[in-house]
Subunit: 342 residues, 4 copies
């Protein structure tokens, strides 16, 4: 049974495995101070068109999020996120466990707006309330939507004018930056945020996120902070090698393009069959609204996740495609809907 | 230049890489709930001769240590460790960052004794002091020494009689259990401690530690705790596959044996050349005392680490061997000493 | 200018000051292990008709809240509170600073309902989300409303059936238990919750909250927890003496009655003048809706706080009365409204 | 039975109680923003001969210590303290509970030296170890000794040259600054440290410590930090009034002088009787070495505390005098020794 549950079901892209295998017997310096990590960082900087950033490889997304938030906020400061934000909903309190409140803004499409940020600032007026100091956004968002350049710029300006740090969670930035609606480049992001990360786990790596610190005031002693949170891997080179493979050419983006193409095909057919979507299809996560009476049948042939019951007769489900999604499985899925939708 | 810096310089044992490659396109359930992790756990349980333990794969050692300690202690409770203990010295305050004091006992050989534990208990007499609740030991220790069965049993009994939890850090348990002086089996450890871990990173895996919870009162909701600390990997199967390869047969132990044999050869020659050791050679870490005037020359041919200046003329250095250490490099090192020692 | 800003503007009730003065030169054991604290606890237990509770005096409310929540939750567990709850809004992230998320439920009147609790439980379904383990309610609430016996019983039963701890913040329990609509006694509360506190600061003491632990499983080592959070006062007897004065007879309740009477007078006149209220007047906090054009004039004669702008022309303000509120000042306030309202 | 257990057995100095009583019905702004707190701060600044400090009143000493340390250190940074330091031994892990390691230096007399600080710095050489960032000293120390001007200056210079913050715990600064050996003034301390506090609790107040932030880079948002740790008292004026009484004239120092005089008398007689001391008598804490066979008899007439068993036949005990110690009780104690010592 084919799974559209998520984009981290398979191992690593073969070119990553190849490089891991090829360099297997080299002796590397530990803790990410090896030559592969060095190379990987340089490749990424080239893609960023920016030499003035610090890059660190962190094993996973939750860890990257908690590390960033706890490192750059003082104890009484909070982070603003969309209600749907990963750090608010799906990290088992990992952010709060480091001592910081997540203050949420309502969001229909997974995005944060300058107006919503301003409302939070107006409300938090004195020392009896947490002090907002950081804005967390994800691109693509938890609903598969993306930020357009104009939107990101507006948030950036709001943050700058209010003294807020801007943190972009790029667990799915590969899909975001390669989708049709996108008008952002990696370098735009580095110019607009204080810190962000480039997700490896959900875009073809076995593990690893490349954290990019753009704001130079945040760079100091960051390796201490990584270690202090338990995120400094002895074999840091294993992440370095993977990002080397992803960024020495355009592999990272090719994988995003593939995932998006697979999603587009599914979205196209679903629309054609008359289904509507909870959030506009855009990247590799699709949220079609499916009549409940089709769900059981669908679930006998495919794995997917339930997002929410939208009314008595319909359910929002989630399909996720990835670098490893086969055309064959997409065809099977679209055929299912063509057959079952009249 | 050959490195004896540590046991995590190379990638993964080829049989691990093979299994990763072979299963690369399988679709796995996320977050460690996949079939490979299931299999790996079953293999480990067989080696433990114990079905009644819970096993979780955690990306790294510091993370495992902080997770265990913060999960099982209440806020006012502390962990007792040897002065030389990894959690006391080399984790950048990662344990304290979770809110817990590490209370140390002096130790010449890296080991904790029942008498030392009792002294801590006697001193911590009232509610104005932290309450000791856990003992942390490592096997092999940070000085390469091991616990004999008798010693472990004595600590276990002291802990039981005093209501203390016993936690064994097995980052290098592969080397410990396969060295000549060892009289412990994995099953003895599971019988003697409340929780321990089997280190993959330092024994041939790319990453991953297998945390074994033996005390059933500690098992509840542990996956919540892993996630809460950012240690639940999306591609948990990547760790599962590695431990499957290590434990489906005796690979894990074979790798320990190899590392120890390489260390033994070095120790034998060094002793023969008249060098003494800061801690008795036993496992894959050696701490020879080297005259300062030899250090520079040695460092031009080999990588190693400085442990401590023992007096004006001599320095304790550390050589570490591993699953990947070649006989050729060992010969080069021993030849160096044979040539330079008279 | 008379202040209706809050119920902690004046010092202590004279009978409290008297007892402090009278016992000033006695030599007391430190850290709350003195005879006055002992007596105070016994008096409170009599009022509770319950010998089987543990009582601890804590300097302030925020500290009591953070102490309770952090002591009884494991790291991945959260507390459920009304959106308006003090711990959510007005404690500068003090709860999150101890590592725990506050999950909120919408509330018009400051109260939590069993249905709202159930909704939170249904939503938090797996280990990727925080685990709800405690419900926080305040009586009276932050909007001056109270829980009726039936309501508290319903919450209690919901909590019991779902394995949730129930924590009642009684910073203003004096006013709550002595208002006209109330049908609860202190003993009902001790029977219904796992832990609660009796607020001294807002009911005539200089400082101090009496924390009552009803659930025997929560009692162990609690003095360690108090000290660990910095809340164990060297001169604990200073709080003990104050609670002795408050509970050796009915002073605590008399002070609540007075505060409520003063509030009732104000509420009566305001209603009579045609003003409506944001939350139904009940205890010593009143939330009248005042036309903006009256605000400036009012603020020249009285101190009060702004709650929220309810529409373009009206504002919800807050008046608070206390044990120290004089009839004269109440008359001045009511006269203001009589004069200015037609 | 008279107690020499500690300096917080009695209530408040009568002039403090008087001022509390006199101002009891005034209506004050909450949370320390009242006029009494304002006045008290101004009086203290005059004594400090320094307008450029920020002063905050905190309820207790442990809370002040944890607040300072957690506010000014980043997560991976530690504080250096003497082994005997209050924060290391007697705060139930309250510092570690905020996430920071206390790294200790050996100390015979309770004092920290520049050499000891330097040794810690040399040892903590890389990002795998905590980073020392603050030095904690207490004056008088936990052994009753004091820092001379020369010693404080030397520590200050070491800290400055190494980028360390210097924090002085002044829980017993009243006794320290008024003892015969002292050559420091309050203003010297403000010039030498980054932050310190003036202890009220142990020098005649019911509660309260005056935290003085001298380093202007540490001042920002400190009220947020106080609230975030639960240390912002609603009736902050109650502490303000007490410090007003202590500092509007020289009361604070007079109380220290009295305590020291009482201690001197005891020390004089004890020396005369041939007893030696564990630490040189200096301030209001005395640590005489008493033969075990005298202990039981002594404990039938006086309360005191046991410090440590120094050998098989002798025990170090602690006598503490205070603002409230009577000449009569001192005479009783000295007579006991005169009678029982030959």
């Amino acid at each position: 049974m084919y799974s559209f549950m998520n984009d981290y079901s398979e191992g690593a892209h073969p070119r990553i495995l190849e490089l891991l295998t090829k360099s297997n017997y080299e002796q590397n310096t530990g803790y990410g101070e090896d030559l592969h990590s060095e190379k990987a960082k340089n490749y990424i900087k080239k893609h960023l068109k920016n030499e003035n950033v610090d890059i660190h490889f962190i094993p996973g997304g939750t860890q990257t999020n908690l590390l960033v938030i706890s490192s750059f906020l003082r104890p009484y400061q909070c982070v603003i996120a969309a209600e749907t934000g990963h750090i608010n909903v799906h990290e088992t309190g990992a952010i709060e466990a480091t001592g910081h409140k997540v203050v949420t803004v309502p969001s229909k499409d997974g995005k944060v707006t300058p107006a919503a940020i301003e409302q939070v600032l107006n409300y938090h007026s004195d020392e009896h309330m947490v002090q907002p100091k950081m804005v967390y956004i994800s691109n693509s968002t938890e609903l598969g939507t993306i930020y357009k350049k104009e939107e990101l710029t507006a948030i950036h300006q709001m943050c700058k004018s209010k003294g807020l740090l801007l943190f972009l969670d790029g667990a799915r930035i590969g899909s975001a930056l390669t989708c049709q609606q996108n008008d952002l480049e990696l370098s735009d992001i580095a110019d607009s945020v204080d810190v962000f990360y480039i997700g490896g786990t959900k875009n073809g790596a076995l593990l690893g996120e490349a954290l990019v610190i753009c704001n130079k005031e945040l760079k100091e002693d960051f390796r201490y902070l990584i270690k202090n949170r338990g995120a400094l891997m002895a074999k840091g080179f294993a992440a370095g090698i993977q990002f080397e493979a992803l960024f020495q050419d355009n592999l990272f983006f090719e994988l995003g393009i593939h995932a998006n193409e697979m999603a587009n095909k599914i979205a196209f057919v679903l629309k054609d069959c008359g289904y509507s979507f909870y959030a506009q299809p855009c990247t590799n996560q699709l949220f079609p609204i499916i009549p409940n009476n089709l769900l059981e049948k669908l679930s006998k042939e495919f794995l997917f996740s339930i997002q929410t019951k939208i009314d008595d007769q319909n359910t929002v489900i989630r399909f996720v495609t990835s670098w490893a999604t086969t055309l064959e499985s997409v065809d099977a899925l679209t055929n299912f809907f063509i057959k079952n939708s009249k």
